[in-house]
Structures are given as C-alpha cells and as structure tokens.
C-alpha cells in the first residue's frame, strides 16, 4: 500500500510537468499581448517593446519557459504582470474561500444526496423516488448562476437570513463564515447533489437485487441495517468514484459561484487572470488545480480499500 502511494506520488511529477508545458504553450500561443494592454492608448511602439522587455516577454519562448520552470522548482511562481504581487501571495489570499466553499459544498451534498439516493432506491417506483429524481433532474439542468440568483432573492432579499455577497474567514468569525458560505454552497451543491443522488440510486438498485441482500432480509435483519451495512457499503465504490470525479465539476462551478456571490476565491482569480492574460497567475492557478485533482484521484483510489476488502494495492 505504501509502495503504491509512493509510486502514485512519483507519477504525479511527469503529469505535472506535462501540465506545465501544456499550459505554458497554450497561453503563449494565444493572440493576446499583455504589454499592449498595459501600455494603453498613448504608448509608442518603442514603449510597448520596453514594457515587453521589462516583463521578459521578448525572450524566445523556450527561454521564458526555462526561467519560469527553474523558478517554479524553487517554489517561486513569479509575479502578476498587472499587480506586481507574487503569484503565491495571490493564490494564498484565495485558497481559503475556495477550499471552504468546496468542502462545505461536498459536506452538504454528500450528507443530503446519499441518503436521498438510498431512499429513492429503497422506495423505487413510489412518489418518494419520483420526487427525489425530479429534484435531481432540476439540480442537473438549472445552471448554477440561476440557482444562485434564486437563493439570493429568497434567502437574502426576501427572508433576510443571509448576506447577498462576500466572504468572511472561518478563523475571523465563525457565525459570519456560516452565513456567508451557506447560499453559495447550496447553489454550487445542486448539480453535485443531483449527480451523487442519481449514482447512489442506480448503484443501490443493482446491489439490492443481489442474492446476499435477499439473504440478509431472509435472516431477519432490520431494513436500515440491510440498506446501510450490506447494500450501501457495497455500492460505495462507484459512488466514491463519482464524488471524486465530481470535484472537477465543482471546480468549474466554483468560478461561476464565486462570481455570483462575489467570493474572492481561486475561481475568480483564474477568470480575472484569463481576461487580462496575466500569464504567471493563470499558470500558477492551473498548476494548483491540476495538482489538487491528481491528489484527489489518488485519495479516491485509496478509499476503495475501505469499502471493498478485495481491492489490494
């Protein structure tokens, strides 16, 4: 197991290297020139060239890549072309809101979606099943920003329970954190919940038809015990895969959710950087997202051992 983890961690190195090369090339092949954006309307071509030189953008592409890669290996992601702040500082400012939003979303989604999926499978064909599945289709189909606006309208403007926008750090004020994170987590969680609920229902339906479930019922076990201990545990491998893969979905949704609720997270940082072609920031953020995703996949694979003793690494 430990050897497996080490092998997987070592495998992330070439993956991250590939991501770095790919991101760098893709960005630098785009037609946008940050020097022209900075130079503005009054600059002469000579001044634009000078700005390009100051930013190191006039060097051959391979040199730019090498100097970025060497700095990266030393933990230096460079500085934002626009604000002049170190990329690590900018990412550091934004990690907490995004991490908390993602964790709270997962927490809400998993806590609600798995029981709903189990109940839908247990009561398959009844109104309960149909209601859960209708909600799942709704969550799947309605864009995050629409759900966000509806929640703002209801939760903030009509009821006045939650603020419209912003973020408070969990370390500064726990109450403020909860009130700020609830609506965004619900908005972002809708599609995630739908995905997990549907997957739980489908897998549970398959498992509930297995012989050992019938045996469990035959030997007189309580329904709850059969559902949770025997059926759900066996259904957890595909469900945990969905939970892991769904994080990619969340990362996409985070960008929209952070914009709608004006949360200063990594998603917003990415979009803002892309819109201004702030190369060092885009490269840094994508590397962080990629690394997170690779590590998350490792965690998902390791979680299989918990649910299925037949799996050995």
């Amino acid at each position: 197991m430990i050897a497996y983890i080490i092998r997987r961690l070592l495998a992330t190195i070439p993956i991250m290297a590939l991501v770095a090369v790919f991101v760098f090339m893709l960005l630098h092949l785009s037609p946008t020139d940050p020097a022209l954006i900075i130079a503005g309307d009054f600059a002469t071509p000579e001044q634009v060239d000078e700005i390009r030189r100051q930013l190191g953008l006039n060097a051959p592409l391979y040199q730019q890549f090498l100097s970025w890669a060497v700095n990266l290996l030393q933990g230096d992601m460079g500085k934002s072309i626009y604000s002049g702040l170190p990329v690590t500082t900018l990412i550091g400012q934004r990690v907490e809101p995004t991490l908390m939003l993602t964790l709270c979303t997962m927490l809400i989604a998993i806590t609600l979606a798995i029981p709903l999926g189990v109940v839908a499978a247990w009561k398959v064909g009844t109104w309960i099943d149909r209601t859960v599945m209708t909600l799942a289709v709704f969550g799947f189909s309605v864009p995050v920003f629409v759900i966000g606006y509806l929640l703002i309208l209801g939760g903030s403007r009509k009821l006045g329970w939650f603020p419209v926008q912003g973020y408070t750090s969990i370390f500064d004020d726990f109450g403020g954190f909860v009130s700020h994170i609830t609506l965004p987590a619900l908005a972002l969680g809708a599609v995630y919940m739908a995905l997990i609920a549907r997957m739980t229902r489908a897998t549970m339906l398959e498992v509930l038809n297995e012989d050992y479930v019938r045996t469990a019922y035959a030997k007189g076990l309580a329904t709850r015990k059969v559902l949770v201990k025997h059926a759900l545990k066996n259904a957890m491998v595909p469900i945990s895969t969905t939970i892991g893969l769904g994080v990619a979905l969340l990362i996409g949704g985070v960008v929209v959710t952070e914009t709608v609720f004006a949360i200063p997270g990594l998603g917003r940082l990415t979009v803002d950087a892309v819109l201004r072609t702030d190369y060092p920031v885009i490269q840094g953020v994508i590397l962080v997202f990629s690394l997170t995703y690779v590590l998350l996949n490792l965690l998902v694979d390791l979680s299989y051992v918990l649910f299925d003793p037949r799996i050995r690494y």
């Binding site: 503005g40 900018l90 006045g160």
Partner: protein
C-alpha cells in the same frame, strides 16, 4: 438587516462585559466607512504606468496634483500656491503651498514635483507633447520649480491640470525616479487618503484610510480643484463583478455606493426608496467607431464618408444605453457637447442619415466587396453594441461585413496589428472615451492624424495636424474656438472616427451618503456617511 450568526448566541453577561470594555477602549466617535463598488477591479496601482480609469480614480485618492480642473473647466492651483509666467511666455515659475506632506511624513518638495512631471511626461500623450516644447524643468529651491519652454505653448497649465488619464500626480522623488515603463512598487502620495497596502486584495478589495496630516485648500471642492476634505475615516472598494449581485448588495445595504450600475437593472434599483440614482458625470462619455486607414476599403475617404452617412447616433445609444434620459439625442461635436469647444460645424452627415447617399458614395469609391472586419469585444456591452449597430448599417449599404467576436483583452492586442485584415488585422473597432479625455484637439487622441505615430488606425492628414499644432500654440480662447471650427469641418470630411453619441453613466448610492460631487471622475473627498 440581521443575518443568521453564531455571534448572536445569547450570552448576555459576556456581551455586557465586552460592550463595557469596548466602550472604554474606543474613542467617542466610531469610525465612518464608505463601502463602494467600483466600476472595475484595481489591478495596477501606478497611475502613470497605466491609463486605466480605475487606477486614475485610485490615484486621485492617494496623490495630489499641482493644478486641477474646476467645474468651469478652468485650471486652478491645487498643490501650487500660484504661478508666474515670464513676459515672453516661455518660463513658468510654480510655487508650492505650505503644509504639503507625503504619507510617509516627508515634506513635498519641488524636486518631487520635477521628477513626477518628467515621469508623467514620458508616458502621457499630452505630457509628451508638453515635453517636446520643454527645454528644462527644474527645482529652484524646495518650494519653487521652473519650467522653461522652447516656444510659446498654450496648454502648459491645461496639461499640468489634466483631469483624466494619465493625470500628472505628484509622487516622492524616490518613486518618481522609477523607469516610466516599470510600475512603482509602493504607493506613497500626499493626497487626502492613504492606500492600505496590506489589505489590498486584487480582484476583491482596496482599502484607503484618511490621511490625518492632509491640509485641504480653503476653496469649496469643484471637480478636481478646491478643498479635498476627507469626511470618512475609511473607504472600502469592494469589487463585485456581477451587476445583478452588486445591485442586490446595494439594495440590501451591504454597500453604500455603486459607481456604474447596469442600465437595464436601474428600474429595480430605483424601486428602493432608500437609493438615489444620479448622473454624477455631467460631461458624459463619447462612443467611438474607429477605422483602419492603412488597408482597403477605409483607406478611401469616400468609403469612410459612406459609413458616416449610413449610421445615426440614436441607433447606437439605444443599443448601449437603452434609456433616452441617459444620452443626448444628437451631439455632432467631436470635442463634446457642453465643452468649451462645442460646435456642430460639418456634422450634417451624422445628423441626417441617408442610406441612398451612402450607397452612391460607396459606388463612387469603387467598393469591390472587400470584406470589412469589425472587431467585436462581446464581453464589453458598450463596445459590443456599437459593433453590432455598425455591422448592420454597413450591410444595409451593401458592404461585406465580418464580425470578429473576441474578448476585450484580445481586442486591445489585435487593434495594434498592422497587417491586412485577412492576415490578422482589422478594419473597424469600437471603443469609448470619457468626455474629459475628448474635450480638446490635443487630449482627444482619436483625431490625431500623424500617420504611423497616430492612435490605432494610423490616419495621416497634414491639415489636421497643422490645425492641432495651431490650437496648442494659441492662448486666446476665442481664437482656439475658431481653429476648432476649421478643424471639425476637416474632421467631418476626413472622418478619423465616427462619434457615435454622448451618453451619461448613472451612479447609485444609498441616501445616507451625502456630499457626492458632480464631476467627470468619481471623487471621494467631500463625501460623508450618516
């Protein structure tokens, strides 16, 4: 409004103790804070390095200027106590007023002003023009600086009191000595507010606190001139990119001031009786459709004239503003309606749309169906609307139009491409300028026609350049106006760009905000929050 919060857990004894302790510790009056949503995110903090309006607005909070424009569009002394001009008009001697201090506690000296003017003169269009006729700018003593010209120039004070980007802000010499093409790394000014660097989060918030040692002028505030009295202790710029969310935040009282609400959301905002919606910029903004003069078909004057006859301003204004209370029905002045050089000379083609005449001009020009590439930045509604209206108008007169959809950042790069439109270049791009930038033939760089060194599009017209130079050298207002009339007649014949209309951006703020100044730039002195 109260939100669900664990803070409100009912431990009254503890709450009472804390309240008593705080009451003893805090000064008698609580800190006053203005929370506002700016029109853009502050990414660059050096107002000389960038022309971005948001950085200019930031600059006005932190820095001060030697001279400043008042509401009569006249230049008044600001940091200057006064100035003298030699009889031959070649030497300007400027004296600094007492009490000027930088945020780091150092006094403002003439050396600081000289270094700042030089750095600004290297970057700004009007500054570059001033520097071309400047023999020297030097400090005579701590409080006096001397600017010596090589020839008489009528726009010395107008340049030093320029109200919009790039504004000649005065910085400490150690910062102003920075290469003009490199951003300064520290923000120390002598303006009424200090920049709180530690709390700056690009993409989220910018914080300013009142500079206690600032000595405002005695005159009342008027545009950028007069007394800059800081009436709030702290200003929080909270960047909310989504217009609907920002509007809701204003209505919920989470922010006090929303600089540029989306026009289509105004009816919703106005339904809240606690919110005022006002046009605080009385001069407004000019829409601009720019041609590329270096490639067919717009290298031909007749084709540009055909385009001019094919459009009408109302179409543009309805497309980008929608509500007629926020735009002029017609403004034919290249240098803005309401400005000192307003005239409608030559504006008939724009006033009287005539498709048949446009088609005839196109035929006379021998237009052969060459595709016209219009850059269309779809993420900026003001530009996108203008691109669409232009495309339709040109199609209506028989032109072959290709709309190239892109984002604004890509457009800012592509408009600099000089190759043919079929090889990554362009024919037309839409943009806009604040009236404050368009008020005269020198600041309005879209009329410059110096060929390769002109603004994107690179028009060349010696008559226009001669008239601009004559304007710059003239010091008499009436004579300047006469030059502008000749110039505008030539502009409508030459068509460097189409002025697509003059519109006014409304601002929304809660009624507890008092003292909002009417000005072309959002200023935050004089404002108080009840």
């Amino acid at each position: 409004m109260t939100y669900f919060s664990f803070k409100h857990a009912p431990n009254l004894a503890l709450a009472g103790t804390v309240a008593a302790t705080l009451a003893a510790a805090l000064p008698a009056s609580a800190e006053t804070v203005l929370k506002m949503v700016p029109h853009a995110d502050l990414r660059n903090i050096d107002p000389i390095w960038t022309t971005a309006y948001i950085t200019r607005n930031h600059g006005y909070l932190v820095f001060d200027t030697l001279f400043a424009m008042d509401e009569n569009l006249e230049v008044q002394p600001q940091m200057a106590e006064g100035h003298e001009v030699s009889e031959d008009g070649l030497v300007y001697t400027i004296t600094l007023r007492d009490g000027l201090t930088f945020h780091d506690g150092e006094p403002v000296t003439a050396e600081d002003a000289v270094a700042s003017i030089k750095r600004w003169g290297a970057r700004d269009g009007m500054g570059q023009k001033l520097m071309r006729v400047t023999e020297s700018v030097e400090a005579v003593d701590d409080k006096t600086l001397k600017l010596t010209l090589t020839e008489p120039y009528g726009l010395v004070l107008a340049s030093l009191g320029k109200i919009s980007s790039n504004v000649p802000f005065i910085m400490p010499k150690r910062l102003a000595d920075t290469d003009p093409n490199k951003q300064i790394e520290e923000i120390i000014g002598s303006g009424p507010f200090e920049f709180v660097a530690d709390e700056w989060q690009p993409g989220n918030q910018v914080i300013y606190k009142k500079f206690e040692d600032y000595v405002p002028r005695d005159e009342p505030a008027s545009y950028a001139a007069g007394g800059k009295v800081a009436n709030v202790d702290r200003i929080e710029w909270r960047y909310i990119p989504d217009a609907a969310t920002a509007s809701q935040a204003l209505m919920a009282g989470e922010v006090d001031y929303y600089e540029q609400p989306a026009v289509d959301l105004l009816p919703m905002i106005q339904s809240d009786p606690g919110i005022k919606v006002e046009t605080v910029d009385p001069l407004g903004t000019q829409g601009v459709i720019r041609f590329n003069f270096t490639h067919p078909p717009f290298d031909n004057k007749l084709v540009r004239q055909a385009a001019l006859w094919s459009v009408q301003q109302a179409d543009y204004m309805y497309a980008i503003m929608g509500d007629p209370q926020y735009f002029e029905e017609f403004c034919g002045a290249y240098f803005m309606c309401g400005g000192p050089y307003e005239t409608d000379v030559g504006s008939e083609p724009l006033r009287e749309k005539d498709v048949e005449k446009a088609k005839a001009l196109l035929e006379e020009a021998g237009y052969d169906g060459t595709p016209v590439v219009i850059l269309d930045p779809t993420d900026v509604p003001v530009a996108h609307g203008q691109a669409l209206v232009t495309a339709q108008a040109l199609r209506d007169i028989g032109m072959n139009v290709e709309l190239a959809a892109m984002d604004w950042a890509t457009m800012t790069s592509r408009r600099a491409v000089r190759e043919a439109p079929s090889e990554g270049g362009w024919n037309i791009f839409p943009t806009w300028w604040l009236a404050a930038d368009q008020l005269n033939p020198i600041t309005n760089i879209s009329v410059a026609a110096s060929g390769d060194s002109a603004w994107f599009g690179w028009p060349e017209n010696q008559k226009i350049e001669d008239l601009r130079n004559a304007f710059a050298q003239e010091t008499d207002l009436e004579k300047q106006k006469a030059i502008v009339e000749d110039l505008q007649a030539e502009l409508y014949d030459f068509v460097p760009y189409i002025p697509t209309g003059q519109y006014y951006q409304p601002t929304a703020y809660r009624d507890k905000v008092k003292g909002v100044l009417t000005a072309p730039v959002p200023f935050f002195w004089n404002i108080s929050v009840e």
